[in-house]
């Protein structure tokens, strides 16, 4: 019966192509627009490292030495506070880092072309903590040394995607050896550096040992707060210059409590030594709590998503109205089929098969439209470029939505079609 119902559905489309095209277009626009918005929301609100997000904690401390500290524990740490965390031995992994930037080129290349590259100056624990995926080589083992790990994009730009481990990069005039190359790596949001509007930036091009970057004087390309003046970052280690961020991996609540006590004890020691006058307030927030605190989901996008849900409802009503007129014009055939032995169940299944087929076609169209909407969005709002991605789960959701809306649109017309007595339908 399914094949017969499919045949009838195709015949029905053939009989009223303009009407079905309108229904298709109406549903596709509604679903497509909603999917495009959901793609943005999903990227913004997604868990970037779901398998361990509840064990990774961002560290904020209240060690500001001045009289007017930040209202909340500060997300930036000075060097000696950060090192205290790094040396705690409680966390399974810890990462202390800051963001910088250099111009990079292959040191052996004859071309002098350099690539503007984002740098993450970090302790080695960063790679295990973030589960950075390696294509070749491995992480550097120490926080110092003239070694780097590079991202897939930069490896493609400079080395055409080949295994570049062992090759030398010239970074702002310094020669550093590549020890690892990452696979393509997407984190949406970029949880480890979601502050200063960077939540939807791409992962970095170059990862360099923290001490090396400080020694080389590679400046911080993000927020820095200090209570003193200093010449360069290489002079920041023993000063009240707050620019480092810290993440730790704590496997269970016992470790969390131990680490919290460790931080509080450290802050207390500082307070006792007269280094800050503030209450002891150190905060650990896991990935999702941290991203929620930063409110990285754009409220305008949320509002627009809600509006597109309402728009989809309007589309369903319109499609339903079109299908009602179609089913009304097919009343005679419905009556005839019932007269010769089709039950209401047969006709309902026939109608549902038709709507399901319509929904599947609308699904394909709506995903194409979603892609188009996202493309247009990034044309007008380039900041959305890294967010406007249709992930497989959204492709699936789009198909399911199209299927559901097509079936919903047909429910009332189907109810109406089977409501009359057969003799009335045949008149």
């Amino acid at each position: 019966m399914l094949s017969y119902n499919l045949k009838l559905a195709l015949q029905s489309f053939k009989r009223a192509p303009s009407l079905y095209f309108l229904v298709l277009l109406t549903l596709s626009i509604g679903v497509g627009l909603l999917c495009a918005n959901l793609a943005l929301v999903s990227s913004m609100a997604g868990d970037p490292i779901a398998e361990k997000s509840d064990t990774l904690f961002h560290v904020s401390m209240n060690t500001w030495p001045g009289e007017q500290p930040p209202a909340e524990p500060f997300h930036l740490l000075r060097y000696r506070d950060a090192m205290q965390i790094s040396n705690s031995n409680i966390a399974k992994h810890s990462a202390i880092f800051y963001a910088s930037g250099v111009y990079a080129r292959d040191a052996q290349a004859t071309s002098l072309k350099r690539f503007d590259s984002n740098v993450r100056a970090t302790t080695p624990g960063f790679f295990a903590l973030t589960k950075a995926p390696f294509a070749h080589g491995s992480a550097f083992a120490k926080s110092s040394g003239m070694e780097v790990v590079i991202g897939d994009e930069l490896n493609k730009k400079i080395f055409a995607g080949s295994n570049s481990v062992g090759k030398t990069l010239e970074l702002d005039g310094e020669l550093l050896t590549i020890v690892g190359v990452l696979k393509p790596w997407f984190l949406r949001p970029l949880f480890y550096h979601a502050t200063e509007g960077r939540a939807f930036n791409l992962t970095d091009d170059i990862y360099v040992p923290l001490e090396t970057a400080i020694d080389l004087g590679w400046s911080n390309h993000a927020r820095t707060s200090s209570t003193v003046s200093y010449k360069g970052i290489e002079f920041s280690r023993d000063r009240n210059v707050f620019y480092l961020q810290a993440w730790v991996q704590l496997e269970n609540s016992a470790e969390q409590q131990a680490f919290q006590s460790y931080l509080d004890g450290y802050s207390q020691t500082l307070q006792d030594a007269g280094e800050h006058p503030h209450a002891i307030r150190n905060e650990l927030r896991d990935v999702n709590a941290w991203l929620a605190q930063l409110k990285i989901v754009d409220q305008k996008v949320l509002a627009f998503t809600l509006a597109s849900v309402l728009f989809l409802c309007v589309c369903v009503f319109n499609a339903s109205s079109l299908l009602l007129s179609r089913f009304h014009s097919a009343k005679f055939e419905v009556g005839l089929r019932r007269a010769i032995g089709a039950s209401n169940k047969h006709l309902l299944l026939q109608g549902l098969t038709e709507s399901a087929l319509l929904g599947l076609i609308a699904g394909v169209f709506s995903l194409l439209l979603s892609w188009l909407f996202l493309k247009l969005s990034t044309e007008f709002l380039p900041d959305l470029a890294n967010l406007a991605v249709l992930e497989p789960k959204l492709l699936l959701l789009g198909m399911v939505l199209a299927l559901c809306t097509a079936i919903s649109s047909a429910l009332y017309p189907l109810y109406r079609a089977n409501r009359y007595t057969i003799s009335a339908e045949l008149k």
Binding site: Q11, A339, I340, G341, I422
Partner: protein
């Protein structure tokens, strides 16, 4: 085959209620060819619709081939329609963009037959009405008479117990009407029970029995040859009708 006892059908709207059938009683035996006549609006079509389970009735009892239809669910009624009744409509009611084969095949689709069985039955039915060679044609490529024969083939394909024909020659010229009537008579001779609504008194006389309906009631009841040439009393009970027909 068909027994209606005091069946009433009332149509209501906000202000008026119309008795389309009023205490209507009729019995039709297996193998009979019954003509139903009467002026327009007398209730002929309502009777045929109720008999064919295309419309509900408000009071009375109706038994079709031993099954009391009162209170049956939609799928049970559909099964009865599909297996026991064949419809022939005045306007043929063929689907214009289906081939003749597909039109005849339609009721068999809901019967659950496999492809081979459906094909056999469709071909047999088309053979019976003399249109086997036109299976791939569209209805618009056939004359009115041929289209009505396709409708008859569709009604016959499911091998129903009873054929219900609503003015089957109403849209045909006399020559084609004659062909269709001959076909119906042949089917009746082969044992098919037929109830036919008609305006044509000559056609009514050609059949075994004529039931005249006026204002939703049987006003006249005649038995014609070859059964028995006899005037019968009006509005007989189904049991009495059976007795008269048997006499």
């Amino acid at each position: 085959m068909l027994i209606m006892n005091n069946v009433s059908r009332i149509y209501r709207n906000d202000t008026i209620q119309t008795h389309a059938l009023r205490d209507f009683s009729l019995a039709v035996k297996s193998g009979e060819f019954v003509a139903v006549t009467g002026p327009s609006g007398s209730g002929k079509s309502t009777f045929l619709n109720v008999a064919g389970l295309l419309d509900n009735f408000d009071q009375g009892e109706y038994t079709l081939d031993g099954v009391s239809v009162h209170g049956l669910k939609d799928d049970e009624l559909s099964k009865l329609r599909n297996e026991k009744i064949g419809f022939i409509f005045q306007n043929y009611n063929l689907i214009p963009d289906y081939s003749i084969f597909d039109n005849v095949d339609m009721p068999l689709r809901y019967r659950g037959f496999n492809n081979a069985e459906r094909k056999r039955r469709v071909e047999q039915a088309l053979e019976k009405v003399g249109l086997a060679s036109r299976a791939s044609y569209l209805p618009s490529q056939l004359s009115g008479g041929q289209q009505q024969r396709v409708a008859i083939a569709r009604a016959l394909a499911g091998e129903p117990k009873i054929l219900l024909a609503d003015e089957p020659t109403g849209n045909l010229d006399s020559l084609m009407a004659r062909q269709v009537m001959e076909l119906l008579h042949n089917l009746n001779k082969e044992g098919t029970t037929i109830i036919m609504v008609t305006h044509d008194p000559d056609q009514a006389k050609e059949v075994s029995r004529n039931v005249q309906i006026i204002d939703g009631e049987i006003s006249d009841f005649r038995i014609y040859a070859p059964l028995q040439q006899q005037d019968a009393e009006q509005t007989l009970t189904p049991a009495k009708q059976m007795e008269v027909v048997d006499a």
